[in-house]
Every structure is written in C-alpha cells, then in structure tokens.
C-alpha cells in the first residue's frame, strides 16, 4: 500500500528525522511505498505533493506537537501516533497500519 505521513517532534532536531527513517525502513521492508514529510526546526522538508496524498491508502502522522496542513488529508484514513512510538516499534506500527487498511477495505 501507499503510506504517506508527517513527522514532527518537540525540539525538531532528532526524533522527527529518526521517526521518518525508521518508518520508511520498516514500511519498505514490508513492501510498501512510504513518503514522509518532516516538520522540524528547519521548517517543512520533503513536502508531500498533491499526487502523493491522492494516491495514499493511509496517512500516518507521527507527532508530539501540532502539525501544519492536516486538512490536506481530509477523507483519508489518518493514524496519529507519538514520535516515540515510531522510534521504538516501527515494524509493529506498520503491521498495525496494514490491519487498519484491511479493515477499511472490508
């Protein structure tokens, strides 16, 4: 499936980018396409395009703070988690996403 999402942590220095990396690695190792936008101290990077979002099956927002541009995902299945969870258990999270996605299809 196509996973898109946002990562953002409080300081915007480390957790944001680690969460992105872990999520991408875990997702890709299970055969998904993952695109993550980061909203860190350096501002928005790797911004999601309209096409990315349109073709997404599920949206993951890994954040401890208020993220920008949540309205872009209206109508999509959105899963919001703290960044700490992604850092600790990326594979289990992706497994959970697959489950949510399957339920949605039913």
């Amino acid at each position: 499936m196509n996973i898109v999402g946002i990562a953002a942590c409080t300081a915007g220095v480390a957790h944001t980018y680690i969460a992105k990396e872990k999520l991408m690695k875990a997702g890709e190792s299970r055969g998904h396409q993952v695109i993550i936008e980061t909203q860190g101290l350096a501002g928005t990077q790797d911004q999601l395009t309209a096409d990315d979002i349109a073709s997404a099956d599920i949206v993951v927002i890994a954040t401890d703070i208020k993220v920008k541009g949540k309205h872009r995902f209206s109508g999509k299945k959105i899963v919001e988690v703290p960044t700490g969870l992604v850092v600790k258990s990326p594979n289990k999270l992706v497994e959970k996403l697959e489950e949510i996605h399957r339920e949605k299809k039913k």
Binding site: A11, K66, G84
Partner: protein, 366 residues
C-alpha cells in the same frame, strides 16, 4: 479521564515549547556573548552603544518575550489562527502582572480553550456570521481570558510562585542534593524528549523568578551524556575493552561538540544501539552531576547554551566540578555495563520480535 485526554494538554504544551526553544537559544547565546564582552542594556539609543550592548539588550528582549510566546503558541496550538490574538494579549497580561512564565502558560491555555469554545459553541444569526471571525472571536476571547487572568487566576499564580520561591530558597543541604538528583535524572533520561521538556517548563518557571540553580542542573544534565560517552571512548583505549563500534566512535566526533552546546541528540546513534544500558549510565551521571550542581549552587543566568553559560555564573567552578564528576560517573557506569563489541561490527537493526508492544491508547485513528 477521557475529557482530560481530549484536551490534549501535553501536546499543546509541547507545541508551545517547540515554538519557544529557538527563542531561548537565540536569546541565551546573545545574552551570554553580551555578558562575556561586558555589555549593558541599552537604555538610550541616541547616546551610542557597543556591539556587546547590542547582544545583551537583544538577549534580554528575547527572554522577556517568553511568557508572551508561550501564551501565543498555546493559543495557536489549541484554537489555530484565531488563538493567536488573545494569546498575544493575555501573554502580555501575564508579563504585566509579573506572573512570569507560569502565568503565560496558564494564560495561554485559557486563551486557547476560550477561543475554541467560542468558535465551536457560539451560534449567531446569519447576518452576524461575517462578524464572528473579524470582530466577535478576537474581541470576546481576549476580553474573557484577560478578565479571568486579572480577577481570578493572576493572584493565585503569583502566590504559588512566591511559595515555591521561598520554599526552594530555604532548602537544607540534603534536600538540595535530593532535588538536584531528581531534576538531573528526569531531564537526562529521555535525551531531550518529552520528559525533559516538561522539566524544562518547570525549571524555566523558577528561572523566570530568579532561581537559577534548577535550570543549571538541566543544562548540565544535557551535557553529561555526550561528555560521559566521550570519556568512555578514552577508557576503552586505556583498559583495552572495546565498547564502541567504529561507526559509533565516529559519531562521537560530532556528538562531543554538540554536547558543549548542550545538545544531547548527537549521541542518538550510540544510544539507540543499546538503549537500556545507555539510559542507566545517563541517569547515574545526570543524577550525581545534578545533585552536586544544586548542592554547590551553580547558577546560570541564561536558560540555555551549555558551556557558553559559564561566564554568566557566579560559581562557574561548581558547574565544572559537577559536570566533570557527573560525566565521569556516566563514563564509568557505561564502560562497566556495556558489552565488549567487535569494532568492525555493522549496526544491526532489531527485528519485529524484539520491538516493544504498541500501547493502543497512544494511537488515534480518524
């Protein structure tokens, strides 16, 4: 419980902290450099000034802004753009009644939730709909939040900070050490994560009341890990036990200078490879360093910037002493409990089986 969870108090506080951290850092560094160079606050622009004066003055402005920034960011986080106007005004109220950072925090929550309540619950006739965002929401939310601040909340907040101040001002030696340990452990164990930020909000409240020791403990605790890990690197040569892989040793080269500037995050690659043992080593060092720093009365007059805070302290030697002992403690503990590794080993990622189970109450699906 559900209602409290729905309010998302913590998330809003984290957003507020994410907004003001860059300001704290900018203001802290300006103030530190200004003070080192002997700058003074510019009172009259026409009478001339030095570069040092400019730095000191700007740093002072930045720190003075903080109650307002917190209130504004909280307002924005809770009620989006409409929360900014009442947040700014109520933040100024918090400064004006000298309720400091805590006042800004309370005022910001007030401004945000009041604005959100007006947006969500207030129904107006059709002809007045255009007036809502332009006039009613900004005016009514600011007025209501401001009135509550002046008439109800301001006084108790000031009482509370006064009580806290006199309590902390009269601690004996053993309790000083005890509080230092607690602040040191809590602010170091999650490496700049959520716990650290909550502690920061607390010690910054004290800082804005002129109690400088607790925030100094936090500065120190953030530096103990990178310093301790670097010292442990030299231990491995000395005692012929390899605890770092080549890749990990390489990260120390950036982690140490980052540590000087009070940034722990450079150590992450090492920490995540051996989380539990690193946390134990960090907690021991952070606790010991924090306790000693508090006991000896190290006092940074700026709220961040690591080693650069040194010249602003009246007892810089106390800080250095506590930092060295704390870092050594981290280094020794880490060196003892960390397993010997092959320096050429590549980092292996954990499989799914070793991962921690997900706490489903943390997940929000919509």
């Amino acid at each position: 419980m559900n209602i409290i969870k729905k309010l998302e108090l913590k998330k809003h506080m984290m957003t507020a902290i994410s907004f003001f951290l860059p300001i704290v850092v900018a203001a802290g560094f300006l103030l530190a450099i200004g003070n080192i160079a002997g700058g003074e606050t510019i009172v009259n622009f026409r009478e001339g000034f030095t570069l040092a004066d400019v730095c000191t003055t700007m740093g002072g402005y930045g720190l003075g802004l903080l109650p307002m920034i917190v209130a504004t960011a909280l307002g924005f986080s809770i009620a989006d753009k409409p929360g900014i106007a009442p947040g700014l005004i109520v933040g100024m109220v918090a400064s004006g009644i000298e309720s400091g950072f805590l006042g800004g925090l309370v005022g910001g929550y007030l401004a945000g939730y009041i604005t959100k309540m007006i947006i969500d619950w207030m129904k107006v006739p059709k002809w007045a709909e255009g007036l809502m965002p332009t006039l009613v929401i900004p005016f009514l939310s600011s007025l209501t939040a401001g009135l509550i601040m002046y008439y109800f909340i301001g006084t108790p907040v000031i009482w509370f900070t006064d009580i806290l101040k006199s309590y902390l001002g009269n601690l004996d030696h053993s309790s000083l050490f005890f509080y230092g340990v607690i602040i040191g452990v809590l602010s170091s164990i999650d490496y700049g994560g959520a716990i650290n930020k909550v502690v920061f909000a607390f010690v910054f409240t004290l800082f804005s009341e002129g109690i400088y020791e607790p925030i100094t403990v936090l500065i120190l605790a953030s530096m103990v890990t990178p310093f301790g890990m670097t010292i442990a690197f030299f231990f491995q040569r000395l005692f012929r036990k390899n605890i770092y892989t080549k890749m990990e040793a390489e990260t120390l080269k950036t982690a140490f200078p980052m540590g000087i500037c009070q940034i722990t995050e450079g150590c992450f690659p090492i920490v995540f490879n051996d989380l539990v043992k690193c946390v134990i080593a960090t907690a021991v060092g952070g606790g010991i360093g924090g306790g000693l720093s508090m006991l000896w009365g190290a006092d940074s007059h700026i709220p961040a910037s690591g080693m650069f805070a040194l010249p602003t302290m009246t007892k810089p030697l106390a800080f250095i002493g506590a930092l060295v002992i704390g870092s050594l403690a981290t280094a020794i503990v880490l060196f003892i409990i960390k397993k010997e590794v092959d320096p050429d080993e590549e980092r292996v990622d954990f499989g799914i089986a070793e991962e921690e189970d997900i706490d489903f109450s943390d997940i929000k699906i919509s």
